[in-house]
Every structure is written in C-alpha cells, then in structure tokens.
Amino acid sequence: MADVITVEHLTVAFPAKEGTDEVVRDVSLAIGAGERVGLVGESGSGKSLTARAIMRLIPQPGRVTEGTVCFDGTELGAKSAPTRWRGAKIAMITQDPLSSLNPLVKIGTQITEMLRYHRGLRRAEAKARAQELLRSVGIPDPRRTMTRYPAVLSGGMRQRVALAIAISCDPRLLIADEPTTALDVTVQAQVLTLLERMTAEHRSAVLLISHDLGVVGTFCDRLLVMYAGRIVESGPTAAVIGGPAHPYTRALIASIPSLQGELPDRLASIAGSPPHGGAQAAGCAFAPRCPMAREVCRQTDPALLTIPSLRTVPADSHQAACHALGDENWNQAA
C-alpha cells in the first residue's frame, strides 16, 4: 500500500531569546490510504504544529527548519502552490469550527466556493452537490441550513458543516485537530461515527489529533504519542494501549480514571508538568518527570527503538524512545 502522506525528520522552530526553540523535533510519520492514525499529546507537545506543518500553515515567525512532507510521492515543497492542494487533497477540521468557518458568509457559499474553485463546478451544480453533502453529514434541512450563518448553528451542527466542507473535494488525507473536544459527549459520539463512515467511504487517510486517549484509542488503527515535540512511542493501537513501552505513555494511561473495573483510591499521577515549547539542552525531555530516569537519560536523547513482539503486525511497527528499553537490569541498578 503506497502511503498517502510521508513526513520525514520534520522540525519546526520558533525564534527564541537565544537561538531557536524547536517545538517539533525530528518527527517522521506515514499514513496509507484508508488508514486512521492518532496523534496524542498534551498541550505544547507539538501535535497541532505537526499538522499545521503538513498543511504549510505554520504561524509566523515559526518555520520548518528541516525535513520533508511528501504527498502521493511528490514533495510539498516551497514550489508547489498550497492553494492547489490545500482543502482539496488535504483537508483539515479544527476544534472550534466557529474559528475555521467565516462568520460573515452563509454556510451554502462556504461549501459551494470549494466545489467551484477546486472542482470547477457551475453554480447550480455546486449548490446541488452542497445539499447532498450536508444531508450526508446528517444535517436535517440542508436547503435552509445553506442560507444560514455559522453563529446560529449549535457546536455539533457547525462541526458537521466543517466536515461536509472538508470532504467536499474527496481529500486523500483528512487532518482532524481535536474535532470533538468542544462537543458534548453524546454529540462527540455522533461526530466520530460520522467521521468513521465518511472516511471509510472515501478511503481517506485520517490523522486524528487529540489529548484524549479514549477518543484516539477507539477510533484509530495506529497511535503516535508526542511529548515535548518528539514522537516518543508509536505503534498499532492495541500494542500501545495494551503494552505501552514508554514510561510517559504508561503513566498517561494509568492516570485516566475508567468507567469500568476496580476503582483505585488514588490515581497514578505524573509529577511535575510538561515543558513549555521546545526541550531542554540535552537528554530525554521526559527525564525530569520520569520515575526510571538515570544519568544517561539526562545526557542523551534516546532514539526510537523497535519493540520486539510476535503479536504486532508488521513486526517492527511498535517503537518507543527510551534508554530503559531492552535493558532487563534497568530497575535493579537504578
């Protein structure tokens, strides 16, 4: 299966007082057609900036200092005009559609402009197609909704409209950045189900970004866990959630209360708080909070290593960046 999107060694930096602040560091990922990949991390982990780097929407004064983004085998470099593919081949929905929809333009116009610009449809054709799209995302009265402004719709309805716009040109890749965070839990379930159906029908690749392990865990085939700008663990969902290899992933999973099973008296918690922006000078960014950290962790940043497993398919797909991996005596000696 050829990958729809390949990101290699992506680094995004912002100017800082001294030198630069690398907020995304050496991120590599690939997503195949129809595959759903989840990017999990806390605020400031660089997950949204990774998405924006793919879309070539890094806010000033930040810039991509290293790495490549290839779409269908072609590099999305400085030479390809983003207006040719942005929205049409790679679409994005954000947490709050109030900020991604134009508040002064009617819903109908916002969908038809996509179809007319990217697809070259005539006005009447575009209108008919827009109605179909709105109906397919579960908007009850598409004709009337098209004449309304974003502000009069509920959060769930706005997110449906954003999704209708995003899929209007059959994108090969859909990036969904916290698409359900602002929604009520029953509406979140509706939007996730819809996202699942729409992307399955179009065989779109999906990059779902969320801080909520439950959301990415139930929706995605594969997970990438980010911490302080780096991918610290990646692998098939069942392997990452069922057998987390990085101490950060383990702690994250342990700190979430569940609706089922034994109730602990206390939640496992991670001491300290995630670093702001880029990482410190040397070593593993998680070391200051890590219960297993040793001297080497404060000296050198660990590389991503494959976790050998007979169950993971393909066999090399579960990786984590931790010095303790493969060292059976790590805990005793510490």
Binding site: V185, Q188, G217, L252, Q260
Partner: protein, 342 residues
C-alpha cells in the same frame, strides 16, 4: 484562632449529627430573557432540583451543555439568586440571605472554577490572592504569611511561588492556587465546577488526588460538577445526572455506574470512549442534541432522543422516583421499585 485545626474542627460536630451539610429542596432558577421591545420569555435553567450533600461527602453532578449544572453551582454560591425552593446549610435556610449574613454564608461555601486563567486576578500576587481569603476569615495580618505558606504546602506548591503572579504559573499550579484560596476561609463546602477540565491529562490526576486528600483531612463536602463521567466515578460518593434543568437520575456511585436506570444515563455512558473497551465498535450514538433550555420539549425533555419513548413521555413529565435498581430516576418506562405509587 490559635487552633491550627480550623480546617478540621467544625466538621467533626457536623458529622455527629445526621443532618446533611447541604440540603437543596426543589431549587428553581428561572431567568427572564427579553426579546425585542415587549416580548419576554422565561428560561427555566434549573427547575425543581433536590439533593443533599453530607459532611465530608462528594456529590457528582453530570450533564451536557444547557443542562443547568453550572447554574446549580452558581446558585449555591449565590452568584445567581434562586427564584424558588430552598438551600439549607446545616439546617438553616440561606436562599434569601443578604448583606452581612450572605457574606458569612459565602465563607462557608466556596467555589473552584474551570478556568484558572480567568478566576485569578492577574495583578495580584499568589500571596495576596490567598491572603485575601485569610483576611476575610479574620486572620491577623501578622500571621497571614505563615498561613499562606501552610496553605501552599497543603496544595503541594513550593512556598517560593508566593511572590509570583498568576501569569508566571502553569495551569495546574494556578488551579492549586484556586484551591488554596478556597481553603483559606475554611469552608464547609467547595463547589468544583469543571475544576480539572482545562488541565492536561497528566496534571488532572494530581489535582484530583489533591482534592481527595483535602477532603480526607478537612472533612469538606464537594459538589463536583463535570461532564466527564469517568472522573466523577473516581471522585463522587453519589451521582446526580441533569438534563435540561432537572435531575433525571440520582443515586450512589455504585448504583448509577453499576446499573444506570435512565435511558439518558445509559446513552451518556455508552458514548464515553474508554480505553478499557478497545476494539469495541463505536456504539450507535444517541440521535439529536441536548435541547435549548429556552424551549424544552413537552413531557419528558429527553423523549425526542429516547429509544424507549412511548406516548405518555410526549405529554407528561415523569417524576423522580425510586426504581427497581435502587436509585431515583425520572422515567415512565423504567420499572419502579415495589411500593412506589404512580
């Protein structure tokens, strides 16, 4: 106030009596919304809600947007005035307090808000923000610094933060300051309105553990409001579920999470993506959205979304009664406990 047990003392007496610390009876909060020049409309944000919270207990209140759960919180701390019903604190009616008495009441009932960025004055140092509460409690100036340091230690913050401003702290640290500030007046009840919703996952667990520790030490009661059911399951002894201004289910945590009675509660739980259930297909979601409280559906407000709705649900609002599973629920379809007269 030489007794350092100001955080402990008052509660032991209360525990001796069986009286609940907070007793809310048939609380109503109606707002009049003016439309145009002559039109007006009554929005029943909270419409006949009753619950009690015992000393040292946590009541978890869940609901979606527009359910009125934040209005309940704001009415308890008297940001909003109740338009009907009563709120008893240690048996004394408080719904109509004003002036000096209201100020005294607010010392006993504190609130921690969702957003620690908005709820702390950016121009006040941490020491001053917490010290304000101490001065309200009448702690002499000379002792304030040491008490501020004690409070910071209680919420696991380094004393060195006392001179900083909120803008210099992280979200988790700010929320700890908000908690310390609430504790400064030695309240009996703390209302936590989505107190951990804005925090990162790894920070959330720290703050939840802290709130539990404080309760174990000081015996405070919590009204813990959250849209996150798994957090409520961890925090609360009893649970109340709100839908468009009313309670639809109310019982112990074991009852409500073990065997949810109301179809809304069931749908709410099914909709939570839980990592324990990996590989499970997403459940068929509940159709529709929570209704606008300004124009709730007639009968049972949940009927347009309910898979069990029958004719009577469309016209008659069901009462909150004991169900066969032990908890209270407001549903015509779910079987009542034996002995409940219709």
């Amino acid at each position: 106030m030489t007794d350092p047990a100001h955080l402990h003392g008052a509660t032991t007496e209360r525990q001796a009596t069986a009286q609940p610390a907070v007793d809310v009876r048939d609380l109503r909060v109606h707002f009049t919304v003016h439309r145009g020049l002559v039109g007006s409309q009554v929005v029943k944000a909270v419409d006949g809600v009753s619950f009690t919270i015992a000393a040292g207990e946590t009541l978890g209140l869940a609901g979606e947007s527009g359910s009125g759960k934040s209005t309940v919180a704001r009415t308890l701390v008297r940001i909003n005035r109740p338009t009907g019903g009563s709120v008893l604190l240690d048996g004394a009616e408080t719904a109509r307090l004003s002036g000096q008495q209201l100020r005294a009441y607010r010392r006993r009932m504190q609130m921690v808000y969702q957003d620690p960025y908005d709820s702390l004055d950016p121009k006040m140092t941490i020491k001053d923000a917490i010290g304000e509460g101490l001065s309200v409690r009448g702690v002499p100036r000379a002792r304030r610094t040491s008490e501020v340091e004690e409070l910071l230690a209680r919420v696991n913050l380094p004393v060195a933060l006392a001179g900083r401003y909120p803008g210099q702290l992280s979200g988790g640290q700010r929320q700890r300051v908000s908690i310390a500030r609430a504790l400064a007046v030695s309240p009996e009840v703390i209302v936590c309105d989505e107190a951990v919703a804005a925090l990162d996952v790894s920070i959330r667990a720290q703050v939840l553990n802290l709130l539990k520790d404080i309760q174990a030490d000081a015996g405070v009661s919590y009204l813990f409001i959250s849209h996150d059911l798994s957090t409520l399951r961890f925090m609360a002894d009893r649970i109340a579920i709100m839908y468009v201004g009313r309670l639809v289910e109310h019982g112990t945590s074991e009852q409500v999470f073990g065997q949810p009675a109301h179809p809304y509660t069931q749908a709410l739980m099914a909709a939570v993506p839980d990592i324990v259930n990996l590989g499970r297909a997403l459940p068929a979601p509940l159709p529709g959205e929570p209704p606008n409280p300004a124009s709730p559906p007639p009968g049972c407000a949940f009927h347009p979304r309910c898979p069990l709705a029958i004719d009577v649900c469309r016209t008659v609002a069901p009462p909150l009664v004991r169900k066969a599973t032990g908890q209270l629920a407001a549903c015509h379809v779910v079987p009542d406990a034996p002995g409940v007269t219709p």
